[in-house]
Amino acid sequence: MHLPKTNFLIITFTCILFSSQFLIGQNLKLKEESISLDEEEPSYRLGILTNCILKNPGINLNYQKPISYSIKEGTKRNIKTLSINTNLGFFWDPKTHVATYINAGINRRKTNAKNRQWLLAINPIGVMRTFVHEAYEVNESLEVTRKRIAGRSYYAPEIIFGTGKIKNDRTRFFNIHLMILTKSNLGIFPLIHFEFGYKL
């Protein structure tokens, strides 16, 4: 059977229309179910940073804007959220330097029925800048001058693994930040930070 061209277009258009309605309806349904959940609202998270030997204190401010989410019902009910996420951080190495960084990317969060959360964030866009406490420059004539603002800038993408818990409407979390600095000395350099914090 060959449909006339006009009929084919009408049927195709109708299918798309109904499909759209179906999809829109599904989204609306999800929104209604999760209206009390925080996964659909932009949020800020503030954490205290340390390096992996619990030294070099710092602060990390995180902003997340959800772009989609899904709810799985049943005995293993969970909510999966995909968000755009941005970090602005600062840490202090008492011996040598302070550093500040900003990065952005996406994260995937899963919240289970017991309000336990798991996070994976990939932030491919990132920069870090260090500032050394006291720096001098010595030229070829061995003349010494003090440098006011000395340090280095790095391309610094980051991966974050985390876990959290929602309790009494308060979300607490623990994240592990793995940042890659490049170019650092001969190549790349891994920087690991632990973050403990709250959703604001």
Binding site: I53, K55, D93, V132, V138, N185, L186, G187, F189
Partner: protein, 304 residues
């Protein structure tokens, strides 16, 4: 390149330390034992060399090499005089790789004029001769240990390895790599004292991942990217005329005692002393802390 200054600067005597590696960490030298007494009397300068410790940079073959590192040392000397005054008294102290850097630096131009003395601990002057010296050192110590009935299986393996080492190849580093294991076995037998010393807060305050990562990269790079001739000081050490003291562990299995003795013999100074530390391996200032302090204080007081 960070430099950390600790101690008593009131009498204007500074000891500029050169860590090992290459690629090591200056604060690893400051373990709170051997340097406590020294810091009471003098200012100790712990400097992370290029590509080492907590140093930051964008490095490649053009700027990470022996020549540039010697230039850094010249700049560090100028900086100390700028910050603390032209009238300060400077001593240079090198350990392991630091003795090659310091020796190479002092032998050039008039660099030694800025220093009142050179302290060389666990010395190295030429990588190829280091390999040659390690073979009889391992053979002797392994034979002694087998005769004494200590860890005979391990030391027999070492004898085989020593016999198998190709001393015509400067890159046969298997015996050098065996140093830490052999040293820890000697320490467990009580033949040498505390081999590595403790760690103190200063070391941990550094991001130890940073230092470990930098060491691996810089160490491999400096030995793999340049010909071994670049590191030969055999013809240069005779130019060093300032007072010198050389300390070497009898059981040093990273750099053999014979290597240290040759370093001492090659030095051009007429005022020089060699000390063998009988209960030490590669880090005599950790193994025989008090003796190190006594020798260094005596040397500095005599030449300040």
């Amino acid at each position: 390149m960070p430099a950390y200054v600790y101690g008593n600067a009131s009498n204007n005597i500074f000891i500029l330390t050169l860590h090992g590696g290459p690629g090591g960490n200056s604060l690893r030298l400051r373990n709170g034992q051997w340097n406590e007494t020294l810091e009471e009397k003098y200012a100790m300068v712990y400097w992370d060399q290029r590509g080492s410790g907590m140093s930051q940079g964008n490095l490649n073959k053009e700027n990470l090499n022996f020549r540039e590192m010697k230039e850094d040392l010249k700049a560090m000397t100028a900086l100390l005089k700028h910050k603390y005054g032209e009238d300060i008294t400077l001593f240079l102290l090198g350990h392991s790789w630091g003795t090659m850097l310091g020796g190479g630096f002092l032998a050039e131009e008039n660099n030694q004029d800025n220093f009142n003395g050179w302290i060389s601990i666990a010395s190295i002057y030429d990588w190829c001769n280091t390999i040659k010296d390690l073979v009889p050192a391992y053979t002797k110590i392994a034979s002694e240990q087998i005769e004494a009935g200590n860890n005979t299986v391990y030391w027999n393996e070492i004898l085989t390895l020593a016999a198998d080492t190709d001393t015509t190849r400067c890159d046969d580093v298997r015996l050098n790599n065996e140093g830490p294991t052999a040293t820890s076995i000697l320490e467990s037998q009580g033949i040498i004292n505390n081999a590595l010393g403790g760690f103190n807060g200063d070391f941990y305050l550094n991001n130890f991942i940073t230092t470990t990562f930098n060491k691996a990269g810089t160490n491999d790079f400096l030995f793999n990217e340049f010909p071994f001739d670049d590191y030969d000081l055999s013809e240069k050490l005779s130019k060093i005329k300032i007072p010198s003291t050389v300390i070497h562990g009898k059981y040093d299995l990273n750099l053999a005692l014979r290597t240290g003795q040759t370093y001492f013999e090659l030095l051009g100074s007429k005022n020089k002393t060699f000390y063998t530390f009988d209960k030490s391996a590669h880090v005599p200032f950790h193994s025989e802390t008090e003796r190190t302090e006594e020798i260094l204080i005596e040397f500095i007081e005599a030449n300040k």
